[in-house]
Amino acid sequence: MARNKVKSGNMFLLITLLPAILILGGFIVLFLWGFYQSLTDMRFGRSRVDFEGIENYARLVGRSRFWESVSATAIYAFSAVICESVLGLAIAKLFNTKAVLAQWLRPAILLPLVLPPLSVALMWTTMMNPETGVMNYFLSFVGIENFPWTAKAETAMFAIVFIDVWTFTPFFALIIFAGLRGITPDIIEGARMNGAKAWGIFWRVELPMVLPYILLAALFRIIDSLNQFDIIFGTTQGGPGNATDVLSVSAYFTAFQNLYFGRGAAIMIVNWLMVLLTAMVVVKLWQYTRKRVGGYA
């Protein structure tokens, strides 16, 4: 009787979990299918598909343009996330005060986050137009004329990182603000009684305690930034030349414009590996900082 109850309980569990298992299985099958395609010479417009082993990968690593794409991907993602975490921390600190500006800014800062990235890209493309854009009008007040933004290889990467920072800094600010709110007044009071000044409290108490929050936000953002497509494709399309040809854009071009689908899949697998390895490092860092503050975050 008891055994029957256990059996029916297990069956119920299995049935309730089945949709999740099927969805997860679907993801894994699709991923494996994509990986298989990266081992073939599949091209749109051609019916024959031959298995080529690692030839697509060997071809990639032998090309300087591939390494330029890897470098562009890393520069874009890391510089965006570092800038966002610093600015996000500063804004969160402002939010954690009773300043009137903070009260006003809290709801307004959400605005960039709710805009679709492609719309953000189109909006900034217009504003960054070197001749007619409003950004150069503002820069003219500080004596900078005709800044080329996305139009020149030398400044295009800066321009797209700037857009990413504008869009996603609020995400960092909100997460870090939540962390700061979690620091109880008695901790700050204790530090103050021990003679800590404002900078000391921030550096030795607040920062270590919100570091897990910063790393948690960084984890989400680094995954997204390493995969970023919309903002880059919507502004520079990977150019000028190959200056902003990050892996996701390069894969799109290779697969859907040049029609080499197998090679495009190989680039995406490399992109996935880059995301996976970076995410693992950030998770380790997060676990380490979390342990240091005693499971605070």
Binding site: F44, G45, E131, Q237, G238, G241, Q257
Partner: protein, 448 residues
Amino acid sequence: MKTITKLTMASAIVALMGTAAYAEDFNWRQFEGTEITWAYDIHPYADAVVAYLDEFEELTGIKVTAELYPDDTYWGKLNIQLSTGSPDWDVVGTGIQPAWDVTPAGQLAGLRGLIEDPNMTSPSYDYEDFFPALRAAWTWDVAEEEIIANPDGEIWGIPHAFENMQLMYRTDILERLGVEPPSTLPELTIACEQIRAADPNMTPMAVRGVRFWSSIHTAPISIAQSYGVRDFVGTGDAMDTALDSAESIRFHKDYVAMIQACAPDSWANDNWYQVVDGLSTGTTAMAVDANMFGFWNNIEGSSDAAGKIAFAPPLTAPDNDEFASNIWIWSLAINGASEKKGAAWYFMQWATSKEMNVRGATDGKLVNPPRSSAWQAQEWIEYANQPEFNNFYDTFNTVQEKTSLLFTPRYGFGAAMNAWAVAMQEMVGGADVEESLSNLAEEIRDEL
């Protein structure tokens, strides 16, 4: 009131004439009750057909669902629809260059059998009426990964309307600044310097610069022809790119100098939208692009530029008077996976008929019409020669004689020409011309 009555009567007469033109000894209702989907770019060419879809449905009993998408979205969706073998779209809008990459796998249906079948094609259709250059461009045979030139080969698409590349300029701006329209590439560079000196806020010249082959198919390929540049030479296994030839190096040096002197700083991000916008708003004095953009902006009330855009042949090399103009042919084709090819052909046949060609053109939308009969039709001649269109009609006739598809037909067209566009951005950005072309040629040869 009187005007409204007259217009109503005129419309009724035109509608009756249109119906009469199809009321011949041909069974237009063979596929009655069929529903088909037609996919196209959001474009005035699509509007020209959508405006009369009811008439087609009345004539044939075939229901047409038009799926129209923005340009960037459309091409991606088209690739996916065709390559996955989806039968959802029956008739698609496409061009010859993209078709080279998809016909070897049978992703478009051959049309010769349908055109030559009297049970499927109306006696009045007259396929030979399309300009010979356009028919020739849509005719080839295929083998695995290969496009085989054959003037009697398979026909893959029907021209719907086409663009030839010309120099367009704002007459009011050039007159104000005392600059003559140039005819050679170095003359253009000098004209740009004069414009910049006379009005620093004016962009002298706009051309597309984005890193897609669409940037190459307007100004560069047309002007390069006059320098003796060919994208490929030889055929079959002996095919080789000529983009690192001495002629190509000479052309690119002049072209890069021209872009640096003439184009706006945003050139690398500029697609046709920006090129046309500059011309229509008067922030740009000249442009080399498809001639119908000048036509549309000349229509009264369409823009501030109405009546102020004039036309000239594409620029040439300094030592060669012979210009050349490339074409882009918006065409209708049948998805190879369509399960309703008969009804799809009926729709294409109607949409590209003589009557629809003239109607679309005189509505100011289907410009340039691809049928020679349209260019002889009195109503189109009168419409296109109105003063607001300046020298559009005459320039078209001059340029059309030297208009052809200047790219070499080949599978893998997109990859090679996209690489050319990227190299162009690098050269304009300051990279050494010879080294860039050498790298480009090496990249292309690697795929041959």
